[in-house]
Symmetry: C2
Subunit: 329 residues, 2 copies
């Protein structure tokens, strides 16, 4: 059996095909343009692999992940032009004619890291990405966390010392929330250069302070057994080490655990699946869900795995050609 994985991002979509994380048979990167054009190109990629059983998608958000909602699968309030209100799940299911498992990009990455990466064997952990934006996915008791919506780590409020850092923050919704202060976009706006050209030590100290404040709040709420910290900004050489030091200091002596003292290097870690955590996690989500469904009596699809016939009817994407690949026909 082979499966497809998609990590749908604001700048690029990464697509992969394979039987599992250790057997990727093809991978492609497609630049994000309009929803229809992007998904057309995604469909082209997958059309070359006619034996795919199901597709897993980890998408940028925020998303409507409520399977009972008429908008299940929709990107809701993104400032990304042209994408707000797009039902990515319906579009994909229609174009691909395949079952689609739909999740946030960071939820999929967390799932992948838990199965095969830096959180293998753990029940409760989280994956945080500090890139253009800041996002996080959490696994609690072995399951991807959803609730009212899904986690939105980037929009926590953290202390902002305006004497040290007069920058107002760049979040169009909240100004100086965690993402507004510490994302790659915040660095670019505050310092006038992209993160990978930023050298000033005091800039990285400030960034470490903000990232550590965000992490401490995650520790205080989710109590993760490990934090996986990825994203392009985290590649800056001193940052991870500075963040670990600041988290130790901010936690202080209150938390009586080696993980927040000497064990911090094994507590806040880089993704083991690197930049591919999202797409691998998405592919493995499709595989896992398909296997679960196959083992269910009666073959009733589990929530989240879209039955392809239902999708054809309910997709609400009028006039879009449906790829002639429905192997139920």
């Amino acid at each position: 059996m082979i499966y497809g994985g998609i990590e749908g991002g604001g700048t690029k979509w990464v697509c992969a095909v394979g039987s599992g994380h250790d057997d990727l048979q093809a991978i492609a990167t497609i630049p994000t343009t309009t929803p229809v054009e992007t998904i057309d190109r995604v469909a082209e990629f997958f059309a070359a692999h006619p034996d795919i059983a199901a597709i897993g998608v980890g998408s940028f958000g925020p998303l409507d992940l409520d399977e009972h909602s008429p908008r299940f699968g929709t990107i809701t309030t993104t400032p990304k032009p042209g994408w707000a209100g797009t039902n990515v799940r319906s579009l994909l299911a229609s174009k691909l004619g395949l079952p689609v498992v739909f999740e946030t990009d960071v939820g999929a990455a967390a799932f992948g890291e838990g199965r095969f990466g830096a959180a293998k064997g753990l029940e409760t952990f989280c994956y945080i990405t500090v890139g253009t934006g800041i996002g996080g996915g959490a696994i609690a008791h072995g399951e991807i966390s959803h609730g009212l919506l899904h986690p939105e780590f980037g929009h926590m409020r953290i202390p902002h010392d305006r004497r040290r850092d007069p920058f107002e923050g760049c979040c169009p919704y909240h100004g100086d929330c965690f993402e507004g202060l510490a994302s790659g976009e915040a660095l670019r706006q505050r310092f006038g250069v992209p993160a990978d050209e930023l050298r000033a030590p005091e800039a990285w100290e400030l960034e470490a302070e903000y990232v550590a404040l965000g992490l401490v709040n995650v520790i205080c709420t989710l109590s993760p057994q490990r934090i996986i910290l990825g994203g392009g900004v985290m590649n800056a050489t001193p940052l991870l080490s500075l963040v670990r030091g600041r988290v130790r200091l901010l936690a202080g002596d209150y938390f009586d655990t080696p993980a927040l003292r000497r064990g911090i290097v094994d507590y806040i870690v880089r993704p083991a699946l690197g930049d591919h955590a999202g797409v691998i996690g998405a592919l493995e989500l499709a595989k896992t869900r398909s296997e679960q469904d196959a083992s269910h009596d009666g073959g009733v699809p589990r929530p989240g795995l879209v039955d392809r016939r239902e999708t054809m009817i309910d997709s609400g994407v009028a006039g879009l050609p449906v790829a002639n690949r429905d192997r139920d026909a």
Copy 2:
């Protein structure tokens, strides 16, 4: 079958006996003094009810809840004089000669509210108390959340505008963390009167701002389907309403859900079990765990439910009289 429930707090311990939340046969409040004296008095109360099958405890913390830890059941870093390092679980199990299910006070309260109270039927929600201190318990996917440790909502870092509020915060570990700024103790130190004597509207506006900031961070991390907001400070008349308004404003248009708009009154709610959420939750934890154990083949105790014989040997509480109530003998 009857069970015991204990909510162990920094100022009082509440003990209850009954067959379930709707059949409490006795309830007592014992002031918190030294660990040995307090637990002696707790044991006296339960000695009058010889048919108790198991005891559930929701204790103040922070706690070591790792059942593989040699300190499982210990209050770790509390500033409460005499209590840091006390193994409450061992002490109780030794004195009572009964299986003990051990949890945080707020974890037990969340469990109770989920079974019979304001979060009935929900899978993912949290219970927050704003009293002398600030604590929170979370349920994710139907289970009480533990991970590295347990949630510590009170020690999140939130924005602190020192021009508006020059008070440094009262947390002995972190100064102006959430608890340091918004707890009853913070109100008392900042305004010079206890919360229930505080009238100034601007004081309650400031308090609402801090509580709302904490809640927004909980929403961004746990994405609870509902937030139950209890504790003595929340009884101040305008506070809950002000908090709801501030959460709406802070969330802004980013979160595309009625719960953070007009539905806020059903999203941030008072505890349905009132001041008894903790003790009822603890009693129900004992009951649930006992019933689960009884339905297990072979009768192997589940993690968390202490076998009374093991407790006698491993309690590590030398010289303490063991109540002669081991009905295994």
